[in-house]
């Protein structure tokens, strides 16, 4: 049964909402890996945030058994995260497979994410099995979508399973296709161990657990292993497979998907993409494609109640245990107090971490405007990578600034092309290419500075295409750019938490917008409060918050001072949530509404 020819390693790729998770659940149910009751429980166990957003963040591999033509097959499903932030993780998961099921929504057709992942799969030489989902919906246009897949991706759809994962229609056909179309793994059982880490997580008892696909050789408890990138060696304490909960087995053989524990203290030592081999008898070459993942988006994370700094530190450390891509260093802001400068893979990653800090660790946090990392060439000949506006050098010290440029691919119905091109142009985009893929779909390619994408590109794209356009991007170069630091002064005092780096051409409109928004959210103070947006020493926009005329003139009847007292206590409580910038008091909530991502 552990014959290579009876193993199939595959993943499911799909655009968000096209039904990937539902299909995965159906496969698990159909193969009897879990009963539908257990399935519900298992689904309930996964992270709230994932379920609410309908996206998968964590990769959960599952081993299933399926009998076809009298033979039993082991099907290893390796789930992939469906978001551009996690492209590298997706590529490593794909590397662990021989095939991919491509799920396309029969009502929506091919989307950007679908294509991006298909290309990734093709790069990894995967066999792709197209599956058309949601055929039960009245708006399903099966034939058109088939044609789309054939024309755009070039996949034969003549015998693609037409399914409804939700209704459980034709799930058998999918399982059959997996067995008949996806090749079995290859590898040399007698060669030294060569296993790819495609994910890892931290377990309180076992330490860092590597999720692996074995390409050559085999691994068992007691083997001395080495991580080829980090060079560190360990003794295996346990190997096992996922059913879908972890189950210990004696040997992890060639072609199999499972896990390896080796009393590793930290997930930073089990890097995704690294190759595990024997310490004494290593394989010759590490598997290709390893990348050291670097944060793309940065922001400051502060607390509404500054006294909980240590709780924030603990929380970030705990999250880091399971998420090596999260970076953080302590930061002090005059406005927001003690906090951390955090680095994320992208905006979604940032949002997920923020939400987890709030939900799982019960912290009220304030995050500053997301920024990217710039290369600043200084007049003294040094180069600095700066992601925190408050560390930006004085104008006179800067010789040149370079910013990261994203190569962006957008798929949209043709009627929105005009609006989207305008948006890209407005965001300093450099036009590269446009192709009409078919009657209903256009592909646009642009180079756009990453900081513009991080600012409010998604919202603009959504509103200009009524949600029909989809986006994928990849950062691969830095370019010289005319960037300046925009400061906000409240009552003449600089508020460091509100500083942003912007392109010179946008500084005025951005400064004006920020000042206007601040005017809206800052409560009236005891004095007239000027809000100024400045570059260097020059004021480019100004707003004024009028002085307060009246606060609560409470009555004091009948000796009921306790009523007045309650009001006082409430105000004192409110004061705790106030941030003091010079003589100006700003509620933390006001900060949040300014710094919210969708401003």
């Amino acid at each position: 049964m552990n014959e290579l020819k009876n193993i199939r390693n595959f993943c499911i790729i799909a655009h968000i909402d096209h039904g990937k998770s539902t299909l995965a659940d159906r496969l698990i149910e159909k193969t009897g890996t879990l009963s539908s009751r257990e399935l519900t429980e298992q689904v309930l166990d996964s992270m709230d945030i994932e379920r609410e957003r309908g996206i998968t963040i964590k990769l959960t591999p599952t081993r299933m058994f399926y009998e076809y033509n009298g033979e039993e097959y082991t099907l290893n499903l390796i789930d992939t995260p469906g978001h551009v932030d996690f492209t590298y993780e997706v590529s490593r998961s794909l590397k662990a497979c021989e095939g991919a099921i491509l799920v396309v929504d029969a009502t929506q057709g091919v989307q950007a994410q679908t294509l991006a992942n298909v290309y990734l799969a093709l790069e990894n030489d995967l066999t792709i099995v197209p599956v058309i989902n949601k055929i039960d919906l009245p708006s399903a246009r099966v034939e058109e979508v088939k044609k789309e897949i054939e024309e755009i991706i070039g996949l034969d759809c003549s015998d693609a399973p037409l399914i409804s994962a939700k209704e459980g229609i034709n799930i058998d056909k999918v399982l059959e296709s997996i067995v008949t179309k996806i090749p079995s793994p290859k590898g040399d059982r007698n060669a030294p161990l060569k296993a790819l880490i495609f994910d890892s997580y931290y377990d309180n008892f076992k330490g860092a657990v590597s999720l692996v696909r074995v390409f050559d050789g085999e691994a068992k408890t007691g083997d001395k292993i080495k991580m080829m990138r980090t060079g560190k060696s360990y003794d295996i304490t346990e190997v096992g497979v996922f059913c879908p909960s972890p189950r210990e087995i004696s040997v992890l053989k060639t072609g199999m998907v499972g896990y390896i524990c080796a009393s590793i203290k930290n997930v930073s030592e089990t890097k995704v993409g690294d190759t595990i081999t024997f310490a004494d008898n290593p394989t010759e070459h590490a598997l290709e494609g390893y990348k050291d993942v670097k944060p793309m988006v940065y922001c400051g994370v502060f607390l509404v109640d500054g006294a909980r700094y240590n709780d924030l530190k603990d929380a970030l450390e705990k999250l880091k245990l399971n998420d090596d891509s999260l970076h953080f260093t302590p930061e002090v802001s005059t406005a927001l107090g003690y906090g951390f400068r955090c680095g994320f893979l992208g905006l979604l990653h940032l949002e997920i971490i923020s939400e987890r800090l709030e939900r799982e660790f019960n912290l009220d946090i304030i995050t500053t405007s997301p920024s990217v990392s710039y290369k600043v060439f200084k007049t003294d000949g040094t180069v600095q990578e700066i992601s925190n506006p408050s560390l930006w050098p004085a104008v006179t010290e800067i010789k040149e600034v370079q910013e990261p440029i994203a190569s962006v691919t957008i798929y949209t119905p043709p009627e929105y092309v005009g609006g989207i091109m305008e948006l890209c142009q407005n965001k300093r985009g450099e036009y590269l290419d446009m192709q009409y893929l078919d009657k209903s779909r256009v592909m646009l390619k642009y180079n756009i500075p990453l900081c513009e994408i991080v600012y409010d590109f998604f919202d603009g794209l959504k509103s200009r295409s009524r949600g029909y356009a989809s986006l994928d991007y990849d950062v691969n170069e830095f370019k010289k750019s005319d960037l300046v630091k925009l400061d906000i002064l409240l009552n003449g005092e600089k508020c460091d938490a509100l500083s942003v780096i912007v392109h010179k051409d946008f500084a005025y409109s951005r400064g004006k917008k920020l000042a206007e928004k601040l005017k809206e959210v800052i409560p009236r103070q005891l004095f007239e409060l000027p809000i100024q947006a400045c570059i260097g020493g020059k004021v480019i926009a100004r707003e004024t918050v009028k002085a307060m005329r009246k606060d609560v003139l409470a009555k004091c009847y009948g000796g009921d001072i306790s009523r007045k007292r309650k009001l006082l206590e409430k105000q004192k409580e409110g004061k705790k949530r106030m941030r003091q910038i010079g003589s100006v008091e700003i509620p933390s909530e006001a900060f949040m509404s300014i710094l919210k991502l969708d401003d």
Partner: protein
Amino acid sequence: MKTLSLYIHIPFCNKKKCDYCNFVSFVDKQALMQKYVDALIEEIKMRGKKEGKNYKISSIFFGGGTPSVLGVGMITNIMIALKQNFRFLRNVEITVECNPETATEEKLREYKLAGINRMSFGVQTLNDKILKLIGRQHTAKQAKEAVELAKDVGFQNISVDMMLGLPGQKIGDVKKIVRFLVRQKVNHVSAYSLILEPGTVMYDKVKVGALKVPSEDETVEMYNTVYDLLSRAGLKRYEVSNFSMLDYECKHNQNYWKLGEYLAFGVGGHSYMNDTRFANTEDFDKYINSIENDTFPIVSVEKLSLNMRREESIMLGLRTREGINIEDFDNEYGGHILKDKKQEIEFLSSRGFISLRNGHIKVSENAYYVLNSIIMKLI
């Protein structure tokens, strides 16, 4: 000997409660008035036994609800009980709150005979439309007549409550009532701004947009108008919302603002004695039962820490024209407020919100409207 103020709560209203009111009052318990007065008298006896000998009474206040809805003779009986159980200062101030529609000549004469020497009328506004809108039971005409009647009966010390920031209220309405008060030589005025209390009819109406109240700026204008007209007529503002002729300041309220001791009788009454605040139940039946069982109907007791008293003394002291006496304050609570709050005091005084004169911290006349913000800086 220490002095003490007494508060008597009368939790009944005529037909209905006003739409903005969230004090303890009932409209469906008229039949139980006698029972309630009996219980009050019993509570006065119980307290008198405990505290009667230790204090002299400086002020008494009948509040509500509407004390003037009580039947003839009831206030007199309560007064007799008070006199029998407590010792009064010679110049004790005794006030009854009265709604214009319940002020009959018979009742006012009874109060006078019973020793009441101060009448406080809830007039609020002289605009009939607004009176109706906020759920009052009287007309402007009735209000005017009540004040005149009180004067005729012989009350010299008359106070009128008015409200600012009422729905539909204009500067003209405010001028109208103030001119009337000046003409009648009323010697005390309380001008309260409407507070929308959750749970009241008006709160809901404003929230759903059925009623609109004047803006912050408009209400401030109304206050300024009241201040201007009254001060020209010789009524000085001696507290945020209170104006009076010289020597007609309300002693009862002044005692609250000085953190003086007071005892409250009746449903929902709050007392303060020996640094401790305690409150009677707000449940009518429980109150009666408790008294019948010869036990105090107290449901909450809170001993104020030094810091709480310090905060309250700032909160209340700044409401008054006198302000906070720095020396007394430092002696009572320790520390040096001028040093401890140096930055805040400099900030506030340099901008004219407070003044430091004759050893007092005082809020400036035009800064009363932002009193809460000032308090928050100083506590």
